[in-house]
Amino acid sequence: MSEGRYYFRFNLYHRILHGMVIVSFLGLAVTGLPLKYAQTGWGLGLSHALGGPFTAGYLHRFFAIITFSYFALHLGYVARLIILRRPGIFWGPDSMVPQPHDLVQLGQHVRYFVGLGPRPRFGRWAYWEKFDYWAVFWGVSIIGASGLLLWFPTFFALYLPGWIFNVAIIVHSDEALLAVGFIFTIHFFNCHLRPEKLPMDPVIFTGRLEEEEFRHEHPAEYDRLRAEGRLESRRADPPPRWLRNFSLVVGLSSLAVGLVLIWLIIATAIR
C-alpha cells in the first residue's frame, strides 16, 4: 500500500462526541419521525417495528439523554479550553466563530462553482463546516428545550403559560424536520456524497487526513502550520486497517439510514 503522510484533524474526544451525535441523531430521527408521520403507512409500520409508540417514546427520551450528554461534554470541552487559556477559541483561524473571511470565501466559492475564479484556500474550518457546527448547537438548544417542555409539562407549567406547549409542539416538530432534512441532504452532500468524497469521508472516524487531502481541502491551515513549524506536531500514523473498516461500516450504515429516512420524508411530501 502506497502510504502517504497522515496528519490529525480530529482528536479522540472530537471523534467520540461525533459518534454520540451519530447514534443519538439517528436514534431520535428513527423514533421521532413515526410520530410526526403517524398518518402515513411507513410511520405506522416503523412505529410497530420499534415496539409501538410507548416503546418508541421511551427510546426517544433515551437518545435525548445521549444528546444532552454530548452537548454538556462539548460545553465542558470548550470551558476547559477557556480555563487553560488556549488562544483562538473565539476568534482566529482555529475558531468556530463566523468571521468576515468566511463571507469572503463563500463569495469566492460560488464564483469557483460557476468557473469565475480559483477554489478558495480554506483554513481549518470552511464556512459550511462552521454552519454545520452552529446548526447542531442551535438545533440541540431549540429541539432540546422544546422537547424538555413536552417531556415535563406539569413542571414547566408552574412557570410558563400552557400555550407554550402548543408552540413547543410546532417548534419541536418543524425544527426536527429542518435538522433531519439538513443533515441527511446538505451535510451528507458537503462532507460525504459530493463526487470528490463519494462514498464517504472517513476522517471523522479515523481522525486522520492524508497529506494530499489536507492540502486540497484545507490549504490555508496546511500552509500556516508549516510556516509556524507546527506541522510535524500534527503528524499521525496511518489509520489501522480495523479503524478504516470500522469507519466504512459505521459511516456507510449511518448514511444509508439517513438516506432512507429522507427518501421517505420527500416521498411523503410530494405525494
Binding site: L35, F113, G162
Partner: protein, 465 residues
C-alpha cells in the same frame, strides 16, 4: 300366570280387530250395518236441525254441509270414518271425534308441546280449533288465521311488521308464525329451553334466514353478515358463550312480532327510538345520555345527532375497555366534528392514538362520553373551572396555567392563534430559507466537484496544492 295369558290373548284379538281400522266392516260385533254418508245427510243435511237440549260451549246446529265436506281434505271419507259409533238414526248424542284414531303420529308430536299441555285445560285448543271440523284443510293450505283464533294480538302486531307486510306482498320467504316457532303440533313455550324462541336459541332461529348474504341481497337488507357480526359482539358472546339471559338477543332490540325496518318511525331501531331501546337494559347510561348535548338533540328530533349505535355500532358492539374500540371511536367523533379531529391530530394526543396507544387523552376522556356537553355549557367537563380537574385525571399536578394548553389549536388561523401562527411562519421560513440556500449551493457545487474528482483521478497525485 293364567290371568296373564288370557290378557295377552285378549290383546292379540283386539290387535287383529283394530288393524284394518277405518273401514265400516271392521266394527266389532255390531248387529246393524254402518250407515252411509247419504244415510247421515238424510237428517244432517237439514239446515234447521238443532240439538234437543242446548249444550254449553257447543253450537246448536247439527247441520253438516255436504259441499264443505266435499271441498275438504277429508272429502273421500264417509261420515263414520270419524263418527265411528254413529248409527242411523241415533237418539243419543255422539261422543267427540278422536282425530288421533287416524292421525296417530300427530299425537306423538303434540306430546310435550305447549298446545298438547294446554289441551288438558279448559278452553285449550283441540285439533278442531286450528283445523276446523268438516272444512278440514291440508296443512299446506292453512294460514295464520288458524293461529289468530287464539293469538289474535300477536298476529295483529305481526301483520304490521316487516315480515307480515312482506308476506302480504306475496313474498314467500318472509317469516311467518311457524318460521320462528316451529311446526304447530310440537310448538314449545318461549320459556322452554328447547324452544326455538327461547332467549338463548333465538339468534340461531333468526339466522336460519339472516345468516344468508344472498337472502339479504334479495330483500335489500343492508347488512348481509349480520349474524356473524352479532355472534362476535359482546351481546352475541354473552348469549351464546356465557348463556346470559340478560344479554340482548335479536328480539330485545328489534322486537319479535313487531319487527319493523329502521326507517319506520314506529321501529324500535329507528334513530329516534334507539336510546330507549338500548336504555331498556342500559338504564343508567340512558339517564346520563338524556342529559347530554347529543341526547337532548336527539330528543329534539335532530337526525344527525348520534345515538348509541352511531358510536357503539349495532351488531358489532365491542368491549369499551379495549384499545381498538377506544381508538376507532375517535374517528367516529370526527365524522361529525371534522375540524376538532383535524386539530387534535396535530397534537401529541392525536398522533400517538393513530399509532395505537390508547393511554393518552381521547375525545371522551376530556369531553365525557355519555355525559358529553357543549363546551359553552358551564357543566361541561372542559368548561371553566372543570377543565383543570379534567386535565388532572391524567396529569396529576395540573394547574390553571397548565390547562391553558389548547388541545385543538390551529396554527393556520392568524386571528385565533396569532402566536402559533407566527411560530409556524417563522419555522417554515427558516426551513425553506435554509434549504433554498444550501440546496442551490449544493447544486452549483455538484458539477464542479465532479470535474475536480475526474481531474484528480486523471492527473494523479499532487496536481492541486
Amino acid at each position: 300366570m293364567a290371568r296373564l295369558l288370557t290378557g295377552l290373548g285378549a290383546l292379540l284379538l283386539l290387535g287383529s280387530a283394530v288393524l284394518p281400522a277405518g273401514s265400516a266392516e271392521a266394527q266389532p260385533k255390531t248387529a246393524e250395518p254402518k250407515p252411509s254418508s247419504q244415510d247421515c245427510l238424510a237428517c244432517h243435511g237439514d239446515k234447521d236441525l238443532k240439538r234437543g237440549a242446548p249444550k254449553p260451549g257447543r253450537r246448536d246446529s247439527l247441520f253438516a254441509d255436504e259441499a264443505v265436506l266435499k271441498a275438504s281434505a277429508h272429502a273421500p271419507l264417509e261420515c263414520v270414518a270419524c263418527h265411528r259409533t254413529a248409527t242411523a238414526p241415533h237418539d243419543t248424542p255422539l261422543p267427540p271425534v278422536q282425530c288421533a284414531g287416524c292421525h296417530d303420529k300427530v299425537r306423538a308430536e303434540l306430546t310435550g308441546g305447549v298446545h298438547a299441555k294446554a289441551s288438558g285445560q279448559a278452553g285449550a285448543p283441540a285439533c278442531a280449533s286450528c283445523h276446523g271440523t268438516h272444512d278440514v284443510r291440508r296443512a299446506a293450505a292453512m294460514t295464520i288465521e288458524g293461529c289468530a283464533s287464539c293469538h289474535a294480538r300477536q298476529v295483529d302486531v305481526y301483520r304490521g311488521s316487516v315480515h307480515g307486510r312482506s308476506r302480504q306482498r306475496g313474498d314467500g320467504e318472509a317469516a311467518t308464525c311457524s318460521s320462528c316457532h316451529g311446526a304447530a303440533h310440537g310448538v314449545l313455550a318461549k320459556s322452554d329451553p328447547r324452544s326455538s324462541t327461547y332467549h338463548l336459541n333465538l339468534p340461531r332461529t333468526c339466522a336460519q334466514c339472516h345468516a344468508d348474504p344472498a337472502l339479504a341481497k334479495r330483500h335489500n337488507i343492508p347488512i348481509a353478515n349480520v349474524y356473524q357480526l352479532y355472534m362476535d359482539s359482546i351481546h352475541g358472546r354473552a348469549v351464546t358463550k356465557s348463556g346470559l339471559l340478560v344479554a340482548a338477543n335479536c328480539s330485545d332490540c328489534h322486537g319479535s312480532h313487531e319487527i319493523r325496518p329502521h326507517a319506520d318511525p314506529a321501529s324500535r331501531i329507528n334513530h329516534a327510538n334507539v336510546p330507549a331501546t338500548c336504555g331498556a337494559c342500559h338504564a343508567g347510561i340512558l339517564a346520563q345520555y338524556a342529559e347530554s348535548v347529543h341526547g337532548k338533540a336527539v330528543a329534539k328530533g335532530v337526525a344527525t345527532a348520534p345515538v348509541c349505535t352511531d358510536c357503539h355500532s349495532a351488531h358489532q358492539i365491542r368491549r369499551v375497555e379495549g384499545a381498538p374500540w377506544q381508538l376507532d371511536v375517535i374517528r367516529e367523533c370526527g365524522s361529525c366534528h371534522k375540524e376538532s379531529l383535524r386539530t387534535y391530530r396535530d397534537t401529541f394526543h392525536g398522533k400517538v392514538t393513530v399509532l395505537g396507544l390508547a393511554r393518552v387523552a381521547k375525545c371522551a376522556d376530556c369531553h365525557g362520553a355519555h355525559t358529553v356537553r357543549a363546551v359553552d355549557d358551564p357543566a361541561s367537563s372542559v368548561a371553566g373551572a372543570n377543565l383543570v380537574a379534567t386535565c388532572a385525571k391524567c396529569h396529576p399536578g395540573a394547574t390553571a396555567r397548565f390547562a391553558e394548553f389548547r388541545p385543538h389549536a390551529d396554527p393556520s388561523s392568524k386571528a385565533k392563534f396569532p402566536i402559533l401562527y407566527y411560530s409556524y411562519v417563522l419555522m417554515t421560513t427558516l426551513l425553506i430559507g435554509t434549504f433554498a440556500f444550501f440546496g442551490l449551493h449544493s447544486l452549483l457545487w455538484l458539477p464542479r466537484s465532479l470535474v475536480e474528482r475526474l481531474r484528480r483521478r486523471r492527473g494523479g497525485e499532487g496536481t492541486q496544492p
